[in-house]
Symmetry: C2
């Protein structure tokens, strides 16, 4: 089973400062376990522990460290160590680290790279932020079509040490243009005397280095691959993206979408790592925007102050009516935003969506209207709370619910599509944002219906 060393054992050794045994113990761990361990070690001890790591584990473990640990160690490393680790990191993880550092710091570190590694790093950094170019690694194996399988296997044995994945081998022509991708299994299963051409089917999927990383996530979801080749605008093979990096990107994107849906600016870091004041700013900015918009409800209600004074009973149902609109709007917005993120719904589906939401809105509003009507009429048998005309109150509540819920589902479903049309992120139309929008209009719907129903009797 797993390495028999527990993280607790390691922590005990660290506390006892037993570096000899710590060294032995650490050498039995996997780089990912070491990374997990480091995230729990206080920053001031990290360098000491890092220095007892066996040399062959340092670079790979460093790849897996979280960003805070990486930044802390980079500050504490002496020059030689920094040069060693930076040059041995895998280029995609190094790019991810560079992206998070201020640019003077990046320049300082770039100088420490060997000319070959510096070329790789500058190349990757030349692509726009969150483009596929920044996600890819230039470490892959490319072969020529006329090579024999035996020659390829020998070639892999010679040059493959550096490549991020050997699961797929890429075939390029003499100009460096990608002409096929072949799973390494094909090479293993083929007879050594065949040539690469015999394995080729000239079918392959590619990513474009300048596309957004979201495109890569969608492609991997659709294609079930472990790696995809990346080409530049001229069609030249420039790198590959592996599925493990895409899993991380997909997770980050879903987290961002979820946080936006909850009306929080994307945190970028784990909840417990975000300083409270940063958290306050990320939540406060949206909360203030929502608060200022919601102030319109006070204005709207101000218009109906006279009606409320005449029929206080109207005020009692305000929270019920507007929250029903808000809830149905949140539901619709959430469904559409997720469906758009997964590519299930696109702009051209707007009419299909609208038709479905009109039907849903009427069904949902109708259901709540029946419950609301029954509630008011049945209660009125036992209490005088609803005044002399309980049926008028019940009718007002019922009609308002149909109107407000229908409006909520329509606003919630159309707003994300509208934002996308404007080139904005649909997830910005968060549930609270839709709820706020629906609150103000919901009040107007409610009081307008009340005036129509109660004119001449209660109002």
């Amino acid at each position: 089973m797993k390495a028999s060393v527990s993280l607790d054992d390691v922590r005990t050794l660290i506390e006892k400062e037993d570096l000899e045994n710590l060294k032995v113990t650490l050498s039995e761990l996997q780089p990912t376990d070491i990374a997990e361990l480091f995230s729990a070690i206080p920053e001031e001890d990290q360098l000491t522990i890092f220095n007892v790591l066996p040399q062959e584990l340092t670079a790979e473990s460093f790849d897996y460290f979280d960003l805070n640990t990486q930044k802390n160690l980079i500050e504490e490393f002496h020059q030689e160590q920094l040069v060693d680790i930076l040059n041995r990191m895998s280029p995609d993880d190094r790019t991810a680290l560079f992206e998070e550092l201020p640019s003077p710091e990046v320049t300082r570190l770039l100088i420490l790279l060997s000319p070959a590694e510096r070329k790789v790093a500058l190349n990757l950094l030349g692509f726009p932020e969150s483009s596929i170019g920044r996600l890819m690694t230039p470490d892959y194996v490319a072969v020529k079509p006329h090579w024999t399988i035996q020659f390829v296997l020998d070639y892999i044995r010679r040059v493959g040490h550096n490549s991020e994945t050997l699961n797929v081998i890429y075939v390029v022509d003499d100009g460096g243009f990608l002409i096929d991708d072949i799973k390494v299994r094909e090479f293993l299963l083929a007879s050594p005397s065949e040539s690469v051409t015999d394995l080729m089917d000239n079918k392959f999927e590619v990513l474009n280095a300048f596309d957004d990383q979201e495109v890569a996530v969608a492609a991997f979801r659709k294609l079930n691959r472990v790696a995809l080749p990346v080409i530049d605008s001229k069609g030249l093979l420039v790198g590959i993206v592996t599925v493990d990096d895409v899993l991380d990107v997909a997770e980050e994107e879903d987290t961002e979408d979820i946080q936006k849906l909850g009306a929080v600016e994307a945190l970028q870091e784990p909840y417990l790592d975000v300083p409270v004041f940063t958290m306050f700013k990320k939540r406060g900015s949206w909360l203030v925007v929502l608060f200022l918009s919601e102030m319109l409800t006070a204005t709207a209600m101000g218009f109906f102050e006279g009606e409320i004074a005449k029929a206080v009973v109207l005020a009692l149902f305000v929270p019920l009516i507007i929250s029903s609109g808000g809830n149905s709007g949140s539901q619709a917005a959430t469904l559409i935003i997720r469906a758009m993120a997964l590519g299930e719904v696109t702009l051209k589906d707007w009419w299909k969506v609208m038709r479905r939401e009109i039907i849903s809105g009427l069904l949902l509003g109708g259901t709540l209207a029946i419950i609301g009507f029954l509630r008011v009429t049945i209660w009125s048998l036992f209490t005088n709370m609803y005044g002399p005309h309980p049926y008028l109150v019940a009718l007002t509540v019922a009609f308002s619910l149909i109107g407000v819920v229908l409006w909520g589902t329509l606003a919630g479903s159309m707003l994300p599509l509208f934002l996308r049309r404007l080139g904005l992120d649909p997830a910005t139309s968060s549930a609270p944002f839709v709820a706020t929008l629906v609150d103000v209009t919901g009040l107007v719907i409610y009081f307008t219906i009340a005036m129509a129903v109660m004119q001449g009797t209660m109002l």
Copy 2:
């Protein structure tokens, strides 16, 4: 680039019923493209098109079809074709299909499998639903430690045709117990005369077949692997899980979490594929629950009917106050639910979370209180709307905002932890659910503060 056939070309051929050219065109497509095409073909035409697919593409394309297409074709296949496709499907995709069919149908299909495939299928179905056992495939290559590299390469060439991935080779002892996993690159890079033992480091990570698929997602996120071995309760190697299947599970889980956050029961199917009435039920059930709970706001406001009649101005701020509590609660709930899903926050962090949320709640509530206070006092210079004591109104609004926002952040952050403690899914404490909870208590907070501040003047 991509195969030069466009889906539009294919659709044109289908419309022209030009089966000859269609056959040629389809043979140039990838199985994933064929699957995408089929999802757009009307059900009644699917069998006709499927029958012109080249034999070598049928089973793999079928693996990629969406569930509705698979179910439709299975009903329409003649017996021989059904036997052929079922036996050639990959076991994990077949299990996914079986999971969605009613059990008499599964029994009927199991009989059609060859004895070997039936054993595999029954084995996979023996694991609990949404367990790792159902996600795994038993097609992998296992080797013995004393074999030479050359022997392994020859062995792979002989038996590897069926395996889902050849990227990792598993080493088992004579009892079938897993003792190591080795990337296929190691075999490619090693000299053919070395033995497997020379490549072994006895470090490996495993999944347990009975664990939930969420565990697999977390493991792949942490470990950056393309495949992980699965053992049963005795430690025997029973299968492997590949990262592409995990990418799908992760997507489904995030979708479920997002839909629950929006107070919708998980849809299970793409938005546009869910029948409107099913959608109505999935949304309606939650909406009714929320509506019934929200009815408590009418009850709560009923208690304060006398106060509202005396100071109608109090009613004007009801939506503003309760929505601010709801929004801050939604934010907190969203952050904590996502952090728990990613394993960043666990039950034992409850006190850390609470401390952070008390500070956040006070800061956020304080900010809104200042804005609210200024709004009422400045407005009151120009209007008589707030009655003879605008400062008392402003104070009531400000204190209530602090109380309600603090309560919202606390309820929103603690409810997911509390649900997890009860063994329930934290995502059930959706934003609308928290908002509803906070609405009722928010009203009580607001009117209680109003009575304290305004006693003897306006009330």
